[in-house]
Symmetry: D2
Subunit: 343 residues, 4 copies
Amino acid sequence: MNSSSGHIRIVLIGGSGYAGFEVLRWIGRHPAAEVVGVFGPENELGALDSFHPLLSGQVTLRQELFSEKATAALKADLAMLCVPHKVAMSYVPALRKLGLRIIDWSADYRLSDAGVYEKWYCPHTDPVGLAEAVYGLPEFFAEKIASADLVANPGCYPTCAVLAIAPVLSAGLIEPNGIVVNAISGVSGAGRTPSLKQHFPERNENFEPYAVGNHRHAPEMEQILKAITALETPLLFQPHLCPMDRGMLCSIYATPAPGATEQKLTAALEARYDDKPFVRVRTDVIPATKYVVDTNYCDVAVRVANGKVILFSALDNLLKGASTQGIQNMNLMFGMDETTGLY
Amino acid sequence: MNSSSGHIRIVLIGGSGYAGFEVLRWIGRHPAAEVVGVFGPENELGALDSFHPLLSGQVTLRQELFSEKATAALKADLAMLCVPHKVAMSYVPALRKLGLRIIDWSADYRLSDAGVYEKWYCPHTDPVGLAEAVYGLPEFFAEKIASADLVANPGCYPTCAVLAIAPVLSAGLIEPNGIVVNAISGVSGAGRTPSLKQHFPERNENFEPYAVGNHRHAPEMEQILKAITALETPLLFQPHLCPMDRGMLCSIYATPAPGATEQKLTAALEARYDDKPFVRVRTDVIPATKYVVDTNYCDVAVRVANGKVILFSALDNLLKGASTQGIQNMNLMFGMDETTGLY
Amino acid sequence: MNSSSGHIRIVLIGGSGYAGFEVLRWIGRHPAAEVVGVFGPENELGALDSFHPLLSGQVTLRQELFSEKATAALKADLAMLCVPHKVAMSYVPALRKLGLRIIDWSADYRLSDAGVYEKWYCPHTDPVGLAEAVYGLPEFFAEKIASADLVANPGCYPTCAVLAIAPVLSAGLIEPNGIVVNAISGVSGAGRTPSLKQHFPERNENFEPYAVGNHRHAPEMEQILKAITALETPLLFQPHLCPMDRGMLCSIYATPAPGATEQKLTAALEARYDDKPFVRVRTDVIPATKYVVDTNYCDVAVRVANGKVILFSALDNLLKGASTQGIQNMNLMFGMDETTGLY
Amino acid sequence: MNSSSGHIRIVLIGGSGYAGFEVLRWIGRHPAAEVVGVFGPENELGALDSFHPLLSGQVTLRQELFSEKATAALKADLAMLCVPHKVAMSYVPALRKLGLRIIDWSADYRLSDAGVYEKWYCPHTDPVGLAEAVYGLPEFFAEKIASADLVANPGCYPTCAVLAIAPVLSAGLIEPNGIVVNAISGVSGAGRTPSLKQHFPERNENFEPYAVGNHRHAPEMEQILKAITALETPLLFQPHLCPMDRGMLCSIYATPAPGATEQKLTAALEARYDDKPFVRVRTDVIPATKYVVDTNYCDVAVRVANGKVILFSALDNLLKGASTQGIQNMNLMFGMDETTGLY
């Protein structure tokens, strides 16, 4: 840290969306970090509380037009990027040249295979960054994150699904084939740009599947599960929109491996997360979104029923699924306790 | 009626919005009316169930580009216009030339004084129509409506407020000055065009005042109250958006006239609506939106407290506040019982 | 029909809950049926609009204490029972002795095997009725329903799941083993009795799985699928509560049979429902609850993705999932077009 | 503070409701306070995360049966009481005997006139405490709060209304007579006990007035306005329930005093709250609940329209309207900056 106050100095790229909002709110509560500058595109400049009136009085920064010079002048330690896919990789090389460590919320550095990225998004313009990026799932990659210069913050759905699946798959308690991830998300997951689909009278009181058979979070899940377990898990991921602001829940159906019991499955989860402060293995209640919203927790549980393993996993799509997971990564990158500022 | 089947043949102008949707749904239940054609603007043509997937299989019409010739070919009795303010008056003269009677949902023919209209909207291009139009509040103008060629269907807020205020004002039980109409509406009242304000994550769990001090429904209320009571009532109207699909509730505060009691006020409401099927004077419950949504009812009640008269009034902004009130007007215009098809 | 007016005279047992509410509302719109009396338990007597203020002015009946004599005096044709499981079978024998045909909304006559019933509920006290009862899923059992004296109206979840699964299973396009039914329901499905779980601040903005591995609708689904297809389908059914009033959606995952394609699967659905007015095979949109609420439709669709068949099915849990499906059954029982009064 | 760690040691009485939940959550973020024990009634004992599953892992305390001895053993500095009206005053004298300072969330010590209290509640059993209690509205009574032994935390509605009214009334810019406070609250304001009124399918999509003409928060408002301004303000307070979890908004209608302008009114608010961190005078937006939920802010604004002054005021009924306002009081009582732990 080059800040005399001992604080991590953060530059935020993209403060006008929901992930940026939560970064601003939670860094505001953090005892050892501060946002010292915010940059955005030309059509979204101005006081941050004009985008987020809740922050008025608390956040006095403006979103300014990005320039390397202005960024350099801030003498920051870290850049956080809350910008859309494809846009992030246009900033990252320049930011790294300025000596900034980076946490990126987009998908641009999550898929280590550029070919897979290009299939789902577009040609990748920063293969060097892509090769170096560390996947920011702290419960599995804490050590690499601690020393990383470029952290790709995971997608909300992959975080939610992988935290439930990985331990029981690693333990050989479920078959790697035929996993179905049935997921629901609150509407903030769709972003802040208005559309007919998310227009209140269309979305309210309306539960709806989307992206049938082709959601780009599926390859991210498969890649990370392979990185953790060394197994190929060609899974089916089906998301749905639920009429609520925030919250995500996965109901995951898998085939039990021979000898798998509910007790062993639960034990595998508990063993994996025993020392992980933000994953709670629930045996008292079935995970529900209301038990995790406005927190950095992911709640998981497992049951065996009618010859299937059912895994449940719940988190706040904007927090453990985005903004506060990024802060958890920051804590690790800067040598702090991973829970700092996250309760 | 020139339909051999004895049915009222209806041409609908503007089927892609919420009022058009409810017209299509409720006319579908009506035993003596049918929509025979639907017209709209160039950028909103196509099968009606592409706009309203709920209607699939039930409504097989397409929204076609309007032309006088195509309209004439339908040999309709009635045109219903669910188009925006300012647009309606561009259709009405042509439709009247074709011999069609008209029910218009816009504000274009509601304000009998062109000067008032122009202050709140724009110059009026059909002064002849404006002079002949009848205000379609059936509980007060049934006779005129029955013989009208051009009915201006009331705004949702004016319907809700006027039905509560008019009887007690007519009876001399409240002072005409200083009335405050505090109103809330479900979000469908804001129409079907997406905007940041009505984007689900912005509007959900959010209660918000709007149009402070300048809502254009205020002059409509004052005009109709004067038409009914011959009194000037310079009122204050303050609307709010409530995070729900539909429903409207007015809480109206007035100064009691000397001698006014809760009993007399209730009696005035009951006397006025005794023979009106769609206004219910509630003494069993306080009006609430859930008791009126998906119906053509307006519920009203009155209380005296702390030296004020409080009137409550609730209706469904898309039904008694728009579409089914128009059908109630149609029933009157074509000599049917006013409740036909409306339960 | 013994009514001079040609109307079906209906006795309703249990008018204070949500299914009873919708029966009262929709029979009120029916051109050839009327509710002539309503009976309930001692602690829930009184004017029906005291339970359902929306019905004030439209329904003037009172819920009276049940007696055979009072019921006989009404000279009804049909009894509709909207009472809880276990209670229904205490009424049915007496009602049948009075010569009434019966539609029962409870589970008491749905499971033709008394042993299965007793496993999930309690000992069955009316084995005679159970043996004669016809399962009221009109799209599959219309003929039997037409002549039935006792119709067991299906559960909401079984209706939703079976309408999607049965045609493709019958056509041999999916494997009967390993089917997963992931379902969500609006909260009205939990009934009208208050509880902490359904207390607004607990349920709102909260998506939650329940009845993990042991929902009693699973055996009902398996039984009906067997009755239709002659196949054993040991399925996994997992319901969730979604924070909205009404609407149900099943996302069903199955293994494709060799040679199954999306085209063949869709064709199987279309062939089965071509002449069925209330099941819509959607190829224009993915089923969503908002497209079916307040209607008697069930929307179904099928996709093939990542080696799985996904079936989607949506309906209004209180209508096609309960009340209006019962009216559809009534229409069949009394020789009317099955759509009468149901748009 | 008698804690060696320099922390304020807090005993919480009543941790199972919503105010208790927020106290536990926000004290968990506070750098200089901790809850060391929680007590409750016999039928609500057990682990706090069994009442509030969100707190699992973070709050490990149990709610124990209250006893003076157990309380004394905790060597606490402060007791916070989140128990119902009438119950609080049964605890307070004993707690004070133990030397604890007290913040009470009930109404028991808010109404300084025992006669007024008894009219709305019941006979008062702790007149000594009542006489000494300080009303905990920090923006007006900070000095008294700082040295108080017993602080009565204000009601949510009085906080919301008084913060808007008091400055402009003090400045002589509105007439003290004829003020109407039209208020709405999210449903958490009704507490955690289930009821038919707050049953999800009854309350969702339902906006409803309640407590017409007799809400007990009205005398609290009048008393505090008099304490601040020395004026009698016989106002009309009308609350409504809005279908959302949390948030409160008052739309307040008053008669302008001669010479009052929007500019002067705004200036009076700004002058009063210039140095108050938690009241924001909004000129950029009209206050809305979404701008204040999950914060300790109260947003206020004023407009003049149609001869009336309209004041808007919004806060989170569980935070600035309850729990975090109590923590703000605690900060003052223990000599800390009033914002400590409240962002």
